[in-house]
Symmetry: D4
Subunit: 237 residues, 8 copies
């Protein structure tokens, strides 16, 4: 359409590429000492190059690396660079453990209402395990068949923290918490349609539970629930 339309005619400027990594990120190396775990990379909205540069920076001083919301494409590129990386595809997470954190405290239970909630539940499992916790899975125990929950009650009571993952009407945490004297962290998921509003229905149910003492994290935030559970579990000997 334009003879001689050489690309040169367009001067493209991109701070991300033309500058040093530190132009876009200040890795908080002090975080491991303050919070007990190094900075975790939230991959959404970052280019593979950015994720890899930040990961390199973190691993220059830490033995652990956790990256969440990793696409398959990112995972492929990441694993080429970091040979010890593991890609948990269900959980959409990347993990590098040069020296695993020894297991401490009690056991964290991850309970999921339905099969569609598994990506979020697995994000919680991978996070909790990488942070040095023992984890047990209890999947597909939604309230439409209440006997499934009753049958695992004793096992849950033996855990120190319970993460409950549920979409749709988000009723499962209320039932579970009503049976136990352990802290329950509820994770609403975006599973559902129509008036589930991408997880809002479940979130509201969890915030308004008639069972006392449930705390809640953001929709689909399996990572955050496991991080909180780990902070609790570490203090339990």
């Amino acid at each position: 359409m334009d003879a001689g339309g050489k690309k040169k005619s367009c001067i493209t400027l991109n701070i991300m590429k033309s500058r040093k990594p530190f132009a876009f990120a200040r890795v908080d190396h002090d975080r491991e000492s303050r919070r007990g775990f190094p900075e975790v990379i939230y991959c959404a909205g970052k280019s593979p190059a950015q994720v890899i540069a930040i990961a390199r920076e973190i691993l220059s001083r830490s033995n652990q690396l956790l990256a969440s919301r990793a696409t398959p494409e990112l995972a492929r590129r990441f694993c080429r660079v970091f040979r010890r990386a593991r890609h948990h595809s269900d959980a959409r997470m990347l993990v590098v453990e040069r020296k695993p954190i020894p297991k401490r405290g009690g056991t964290i239970a991850v309970v999921a209402a339905g099969t569609s909630d598994l990506p979020v539940a697995e994000e919680a499992v991978v996070t909790a395990e990488t942070m040095g916790n023992r984890v047990r899975r209890f999947y597909d125990v939604g309230v439409s068949g209440i006997h499934r929950i009753m049958s695992i009650r004793q096992e849950l009571q033996r855990c120190s923290v319970i993460i409950v993952v549920a979409g749709m009407e988000g009723a499962l945490p209320s039932v579970v918490a009503g049976l136990l004297d352990k802290p329950v962290i509820a994770v609403p998921t975006s599973v559902g349609y129509g008036t589930s509003f991408g997880g809002i229905a479940a979130l509201l149910a969890m915030l308004n539970s008639c069972s006392s003492g449930i705390t809640v994290v953001n929709i689909d935030n399996g990572f955050g629930a496991a991080f909180a559970a780990s902070l609790i579990n570490r203090q339990i000997s």
Copy 2:
């Protein structure tokens, strides 16, 4: 307060008062033949005089009268006019039954999650009874103590329609419906605070239930749930 402040100086015009009742209402006398029950008066937003005028009109052709959302003040005035009226103060309803409708069909169960849900549950009870149904109450059986529901399961299974009234997280209908092969009509209530948003949390939970076949009515609409239950129950011999 104002010397010579004669009211005459202000010409007040009010269609409600200066005209005949028919200026503001066209009573649908045909409704009883079409729908099996005469027009029900929704009192909110109507003056006592209006409610009484409409009630007179309805009773000129029907043996039953039901009025919902009646304030105590309205009830007092109403009962002075209609000697056979009963005021169900919990339910905020007024009933006139010149000739009660004979009981038909099966039994309607009214299940309520907590004590605060009772006004709505009682609205359902009074409506269902006035429309000629047998009713059983099951109150304060919320999911924070799941054994309470399990213990009434057999009794519920013997009913033909189940109305479940719940506020807060609205989880009770999911659990009840999962146990039975009877139609469950869920009534969200405005019980709760903060993110219950006046009953929206409960409503969304009910609309998104993982237990199949729950249908839902408006927040605090005990009347509507009972009306629907009655339409179902009448067909069951």
Copy 3:
């Protein structure tokens, strides 16, 4: 970019694949005895492999199988495995009926406001028929031409339950319910644009109907409406 970028370098872990089906699902085999119909598979958010594994498990003990929200791709794979499967493409449903449930009770009417509402209406039809009900369709009878509804009034009155499917302003259930003494289950659809907000306008209209006794299900939930209608219809001899 990376010499020898062999895939091996990336250790991928996936609970869905590496474990047994029971890692992600606990089929509720008791459901058929409790609720009168086996577990129904909601396909959204499940992989074809998961759907097929769960279907196998259900069919190991039941004669019926119903799966909703099936994509064409899933349907193709499903039908290769289950030879007796039928794919209702309008309804986005998969059905396996080894021994059809005999027809019982009255007839369920499925009324739809417009042509665009048909996928949801057909989901209701297929569900109701598979659950052993007689069904009649009344399509494209929206309120912009009110005579269309008036002309089917007598036929509707002969049915035992009426499912009304409508998007946009969702006015049809109010008009239909005002004409009959049968239970009306309203299904809002996501048909519309702008302030229809994906079906919320229709949902709110149905929840706030001035015609008494309408009950409502989630947006686009033809399946749920038919499930509820079937629970009602079974009790009517």
Copy 4:
């Protein structure tokens, strides 16, 4: 509690009182020539003194005065000052007509769904009449008894503009517009409870009507609907 707590110790400053009326209002005297009717006073949020001062200013150059959302208390004070004022208490309006505008154009119909919608309908009636239009009222013709609308169809078709006032599910405008070839202006009202959300349900229904050509005004805005209808009607000879 404080010896000598004389009021003097508190210096109170109030721009509303200490300055001239023009400190708080610039009456748009040119409006009558531009828009065909003088500025209308929206009383909500204004003190009686402010309303009266603005009214005086308007009447210094116009023969008509219309004030909406007047409380009974304001009306009392207003009528003491303006002897020719009429207070339409249903409509919450104050009118001063020194020389009524002659009737022009066709007739405006004001149709209301239920008795509770009357304050809004009357606001429309009073506005339209004051602006020089012939008006006909059709009240309590909601869609739960559709025959009521059918019976007034011919009368409506003879009007030039139809204002339809409805709360709850707001279905009436769709039915009315579907029957006529006249412009329909829909007014949602805040009548209802729960998910009517103070009139939002009705508003959304009206904006999403499947009947073409309905236009909509703000919730409870009977005044605005009549103003628009009057601008239309004036052009019709």
Copy 5:
């Protein structure tokens, strides 16, 4: 992938295809006599085959056909079947006019705030012209340069109805209506980002205008605004 994976093994059922057109649509042939214009096809959510079948049915009795929200793909197929069809690609509309409606009444002005609002404005223009109205366009006159509106004031005042199309903050109708004594129909568009919420910001601004007498249609509903304007304009001689 599956030996013998013959398609036959999958029985596909599709009501849309296997039945007659009348299985999915009841064309309202009476509409032209009631409303002055035949049924208009809203193409979204309908297959090309459905649109064409409905169009044939309408044209079997009418001389005009209007179809909105037509994709380019649909337009191509449609134009192959109906040789006289015109495709207004900006407006996303298809028109067949066997015998154009003669121009009547005054002129309809279509005013648009910005260039991005043109698809909606053109939908209004095409609709109004097809329905037999004279139309004038006034584009790109948003309030950030208020002199642009002032300069067209006299021309607008000579029109009988003003359609104002605006996205973002939707302020243009308030300014236009404040200058004229003609009816203003406001059309919010989904132009904007972030808190424009797909046109809600503009819609709310229009519903809350401080200029009296503006009426509003659904977001992006240029068709509806023009339909309403045409019902008004037809009555003006």
Copy 6:
């Protein structure tokens, strides 16, 4: 209107009064063994008589009683009946401790952003203390003066669980959690105006915190936060 308007003419029926306490409540006596603390009475929406009846029932088997959201009027009546009751008026709570629970575990910190957040913070303090925890208060340390938080950092790090109470923009939990390796439970309050939407702004901020591991409870739910903190703290020796 009615000579001799004797009250008798009105038959009032009230299930709350005419039946036994068990008509409206089923106290869950098993809860103390399951959850480690007896049922807590949420007073909102219950009559004083109901609260007192339920309290009697609970105290018939437990040594502790906690009642939240108690109005001053209820407190007065309650304290007349239960001589050992204490009324925490800031916290709107009633406490009866026949035999205080011995202090166990670590210390719970209650941090509040501003003076207006105190009622919620005090609800957390009273709950935590009654449930057998040591508590420390840190009030008025909002982020507009960040040095206030920095100065208490060491003290917070010595606690085992941190409850952070904040209204308005709800930023305090993010800052606090970023400094510590202890679990942080965030409580949004309804302090604010306009777009604080009764606490929604603060709630959303807390759910979306960039500091990992924060969990959240309902708006103004100081009780729930303390209950959760107590379940955590009990496990820490």
Copy 7:
């Protein structure tokens, strides 16, 4: 109901009263040096005693005191204690100026759309003046009469910052900003009804303005707008 019901039987505990002021507030004395003005008291949600205690603390080190959202009752009590206090009743503000800040920089214009917006506009005026700015008022210049804005354009252009206060559709800032090269700070007010949603309509309009460079504060936040304007104005010599 209880013989000898002495008040003593109820032990009331109240942290607000029983402890020192510092139990509920940590006055940020450093703020004046950091931000150029001492801490401002937001009175909503604080008791008169609390406000007075905090005011004393602030005045122990500063010459200025500003308190917003003061009720008349609070003002009366406040003025008894602080003899130099002035109560701006329109603005709902309390001011103590021991030594007024000298006027600096340019002039701040406060523009208000309608008479009902004055309380918010006056809050801005009082704040700006107390913080040492010259202020000019331009009231009742809403867009329904656009000539009113045009007539003050030159005066506005001579000011250094423009605060524009508007409710309803919030269109005024767009028009004003389009005329000037000065920073415009928009303040939405809660003036309006129905879909104004307490100021949200105006807020959204302001955030989505087609006029570049408008910044916005919370609904009814005249104080915040003036604070920002003052930070700007101080830098202008």
Copy 8:
């Protein structure tokens, strides 16, 4: 594709193409004199041809051109036409500066909370620089590591206006504003997931900041923040 399917049969009409540029745009050439900078092109929703035509028109009278929200595809086409154009790909902006505006006033700081916020921050940087301002970047200083902000406090205090860009909980502006006596303009970004609601969580936090004097722009509106900052900065000598 279709033998004989000649395109001729479809008459396509497109106002955008068939008419002159002025059919869709009226460039506001007076804007540079009124507002200090020529019209800026918002590219979203405009075709490349439209953008280029408008750009030509602007450059016929101005030396600067700024276009926002440019896709890479648009940039490519644009740069072929305008040889001096620069494409800032991070910022999604196109700039033509025939004669750069000389730097005036103080320095504008652009502070960003996280790496994902950079596209918005860069939009602010490019806008501010093109409008003749000195700019400093401070990136990745979110509140989860509060020391990062503390370390740049002195540098920020030396700037004249601070733009703070943040997604998720949007807490950064509160902390920054609490430390300085400079105007802070907050830009919420759509970074986040679940209840971040595309930037609403951050927006609300910023509108409800407890730090006085923050003003806010639309979500992701880096351009608007910089435009406002520039209007401020120009006045500071």
